[in-house]
Structures are given as structure tokens and as C-alpha cells.
Amino acid sequence: MFRRTILSTAAAGLVAAALAFQPAQAADTIKIGASAPKTGPLAGGAATTQWPNVRLWVHDVNSRGGLKLKDGQKKIELIEYDDRTTPGEAIKNIQRLATQDKVDFILAPFGTGFTIATAPIFNKLGYPQLAVSAITDKIPALTKRYDNIFFMLGSTTTFTNSVVDILKKMKDDGKIGKRVAMVNVADAFGIELANAARPVFKKAGFEIVYDKSYPLGSQDLSPVIKGAKASNPDAFVAWSYPPDTFALTAQAKINDLNVKAFYTAVATAYPAFKGKFKADAEGILGAGGIDPDTPALKEYFKRHKEVTGKDADYWASAVTYASFQILEQAIEAVGTLDRKAVTEYIKKNEFKTVIGPVKYDNQNSARYWTVGQWQGNKFYGVSSRGRPGAKAIIEKPAWNK
């Protein structure tokens, strides 16, 4: 009997809680859906780049009274789901947002795999998908297939080419020699970038003196760094993911791997990177970058910290926010919740965002930052496609001992 009482009480509690969580029904709101990882391997990245910006944007729009439509101003009601870093779950979440919650618009999911996995469903349901955290060489094929998907961060090829270009410029200026040590994480992104980089490095007159991959989730990367150091390189390039970006940098310091050009890929632009390495971050190159000194971005960074309590990263954070601004401006310009008209409007017009003007050309924004560098307390873009304000590159000083 006792057991049955516990069970029924627990069940009643769950039901009551479920009812309490039922979102309030109000006709004068716009429903916006969001699905991204809150748990699983990509949760850390999403907690830095995606979710704070979702919150910031909803806060910004609602605190100015909501979106201005033809039939009055409407506030945003946000419905968010965790995709558990599982593509099947992400697909289901988009379905649920569209058909059960009947949301008016859906914010694009996080990560390349998830962008592509959900693209067919966005397309079928007719929702515009303004992807940000997705880098692929298949952009032309994907935009041809899906007329409602938009890209903002460029392709794998430009991503690697700009790193090589930066190093080539340093070499031509006589700052570094031609010996490059290259390592990569043996997982999707890392393998793709390393394979793309090899021929480009050679073409640019570099000699790859060390070329190793390490498995995703490796706990001890000191052999990798020791090997790289033994090859006596002039530049060190790591196509790395967040955990190994931190681990490789830490090991490079411990083993005193001193090169004038030190590049680690994803997460170098995270505020946590500066937080961990402090003065040692100076001169480290990484994926992304922006021009944080424009008035719009200065204001954005300040507001991001105030509203979410976290620092924005120096790469995809502002771009993610910009993608929401594009959606916001397109909805207001169209003046209704007609998704087809909004998609068409996004295709044809230029938008003013925190990262500067954005205009899609064949559903792909060709203006983005590719390489950044820690200089002082900020991570400045040093290489871009079509964005002004690139800073001059500095040589990386020796590690502080």
C-alpha cells in the first residue's frame, strides 16, 4: 500500500508540474521555436554561442515592445527544446515546433551535422532556416536543393585557405620560415580541414615537417606536442575542437613549444580561452574573429554580458545574433507572419546587423571573418572575406615562464 501511495503521489506531482509548464496561450504574441543541444557533446558550444544569443535577442525585441506587424506590435513567446546532440531528436523537435506548437518561425539549430539533418524538414514545412554554426563545402548543392536555407560562416575551403594565406604572408614578410607542424583531431571537421590544408600548404611553398592526428577525446596530448617540437617547426597549426584546443595550448606552454605563428581552430575565440591562458593567449591565432571595436559590436558585447551574465565569443556569437536580427527585420518589413514572403525578402534585401551589413547572394553571405588573433584583451579578426577592419598580425611572443 505504502508503495502504491508513493507512486500515485509521484505521478500526480509529475502531471501537476507538466500542467504548470504549459505555455500561456495569448493571441497577441509571435511564437518562435528554438532547438539546440542542452545536453550531449555539443552542449558546451551551444551554451557559449547559441542559447545566450537566443535569450538576448528575445529580451531585446520584447523590451522594445515586440515585433511591429501590420496589425500591431507583438511580443515574442519563446519555445525551446533540447536536441540532446542527436540528429533524430533535432528533426523531431522541428516537427513538434511546427506542427504541435504551431510556432511562427524557428531559429536554426546548432552545428553542421544538425543544420544539414534538419534542412529537409525546414524545407518541407516551409520555414526559413538561417544557419550560422555550419561550415561545409556543399553550400552550392544545399542551397540548390533547399530554397529556404541560408549560410553565413563560409566553406571549409575558405576556412583552410585563409589560414594558409596568413602564414604565407608572414613567411613572405620574413617573419617565419617554411617549416609547418600540423596536427588534427581525428573527427569529422578536423580530418576534412587537414586533408584540405595539405595541398594548399605545399602550393604556398611550405614544408609540412610534422603531420599527426589524435583521436577525439584524447586525454594526454603531450606526445603530440613533443613530436611537433622535435620537428623544429616555424609555425604550428592545429585543426582542433574545443577540448583539445585548450589541451594543446596548455601542453605547448609546458613543453615550451615556441613558434611565431601558433594556430588552434575552434574555441580559441571563446572568452574562456583568454580566461585560462591570460597573458599567454597573446598572439595566438584561431578560427573566427571579428572587429570588436565597432560601436555596434562594443554595444553588443556590453549588452550580452548584462543580459545573459556571460561574455560573447569572438566569432559565431555576434553572427548568431545577426541572423536573428535578419529574421526580425524581414518579419517587420513584410509586416505579416507569411513565411514564404519573409524568405523571399531575406533573399533579396540587405540587412543592417551588429556585424555590419549582410546580404545573401544565392542564399550564402559572402562576407565573414576567417582567422582571428588574441591581441591584448580581445580576439581581433586578422583575415576576412569582404569585411573591413582586419588588424595587422603580430608575431606570437614566447610563453611567459
Binding site: P41, D82, K92, R96, K124, L216
Partner: protein
Amino acid sequence: MTGAEVRNFAVAIVLFALAALIPLTGSGYWLSIGVSIATYMVLSTSWALFSGPTHYISLATGAFYGIGMYVVGLGIEILPYPVLLLIAAVLGAALAALVGLATLRLSGVYFVIFTLGLAELIRQLVNWGQTTQGSSSGLYVLTDISEPMIYWQLLGLGAIVYLLGWWINRSRLGFALRIIGNDEVVAVHSGINTASAKIILFVVSGTVATVTGALLAPRLSYIESSIAFSPMLSFLVVIMALLGGAHRLWGPIIGVVPFMLVWDLVTAKFPNQTTLVLGICFLLIVYAIPHGLAGLVEKYRARARGAF
């Protein structure tokens, strides 16, 4: 066939026919839940074919599933899709036979640990292959195969698994397996070739998991090793099969359906506390129904009979 069997067949056919109607309702949401349920129905039922009678807990489902995905991912631009399914089946069977030969002499916890390692081993081999062969590592599967088609294919595969399970259960092989599960030493002494019996079943279950992965590849469109070889999948299959009851052919499905529905409800209502609420649900399940839902059904059925 006995009267009861005819009745069971009729019930199964009606249920399958009803399930096949889901895509026609036009609700994409219920269809995507249907795909999840069908996936885990196939995986859990085929898992229980082997692990139910023998009590060998296999955590290798993710390994086979991932291989199926990669076969389609690598071959979709070269070969027609049905051929890829066939290749996936053959590869899965071959791997299962190989693994079975090497490991089914292990028992208990050693077997569990080995199968858990298998998915990781294969994933690393795939990565190594991609690094050394210099292909790009994310594989794109851009096809016109729609979600209803994937769903019906999974249902078809499910029907095959049930027929196979029914046939095995009434064959000498099924009888041998039950003896192995009860006492392997006795089985050996009564002249049963325990190794071959176990390998055959392991091959069946591995092949089905591989084909399931191959069927689902077009749904994800983008295959990478961290997604294809997810250890989470292997655990979920075991959890759902045990929730339903692995000792009956119809056990896993009555675990899968409520599990997926409850999980979906939890995800929808508590997006920020999913894992916590799920943990509480697990505790309640283990506390309230230790023998699985099939055990519960059988208990009440026996009680109802007793009342007559």
C-alpha cells in the same frame, strides 16, 4: 498452427496495418515519433532475440548500426540504394560472425565490456581509414527518400524480425538457446553445439541492426562518426528491451512505445531538466515494475485466469 497462434497472427497483422497508416494522417510530428519508435522496436526486438534467451547482454548495437550508416554514406553516390542495403546486411552478418566466433566463449561481464568496446573500436577504425585515405570525413546522403518511406521500410524490417523470432522460438534452435540461458553446462552436456547456436542468433541480431542503420542514413543526410557510433544508442536499446521484458518476443515493443512517448513528453515539458526527470522516471520504473512490462502483463493475465 494452434488457435492461439492464429489469433496472435491476426492481432499482429491488424496492429502492423494500423501502424502503417500513421504517415497518411499527415502529421509530421507523429510520423517522426513513429520513426523513432519503429527504429527502437526493430533494434530492441532483434536484440532480445539473442540476449533474451541467452542472457548475454550485448552493447554492440551501436557498432552495427554505425556500419550500416557508413555503408550508405560511402556508397550512395556510386551504387543504387537497395544494393547498399544488401551490402550492409552482408557486412553486418560477416562482422557479427567474426565477433561471435572470437567472443561468445566469453561470458558474463567480459562479454558486456567487449561489446561496449566494439563500437568505439570500429569508430576509430573508420576515422583511421578516413584520415589515411584522405577523403572528406563528413559524408553527405542527399536523396529523395522521404520520411514515410523510411518509416514503412522500418515497419517491413520489423515484420521480418517478428516472423524470424516466431520461427526461431518454435525451432530446435530456440529450444537450444533457452537451455543455454538456463544452464550452459547442462546444454553442453546434452550435446548442444552452444557456440554455433549463439553465433547464429548474434548474426541475426547484428544484421538487423546494420540494416536499420542503413535505412536511417538518408534521414540524417549528414553522417559523421560521433553520430553514427553513439554508445547512447546501445544503452537505450537495452534499457527499452528490459523495460518491456526480453523473455518474450512481444516484450520489447511494449517497452519501446511508452518509453518513447514518456521521453518525448518529458523533453517537451521540461526542456531544461530532461535528464533529471528521466532519472526519476527510471527509478520509479525499476521500483514499481522490476520484471518489465511483459512480466506485469503476464502476472495480471494469470490473476484474471485464476479468478474464472
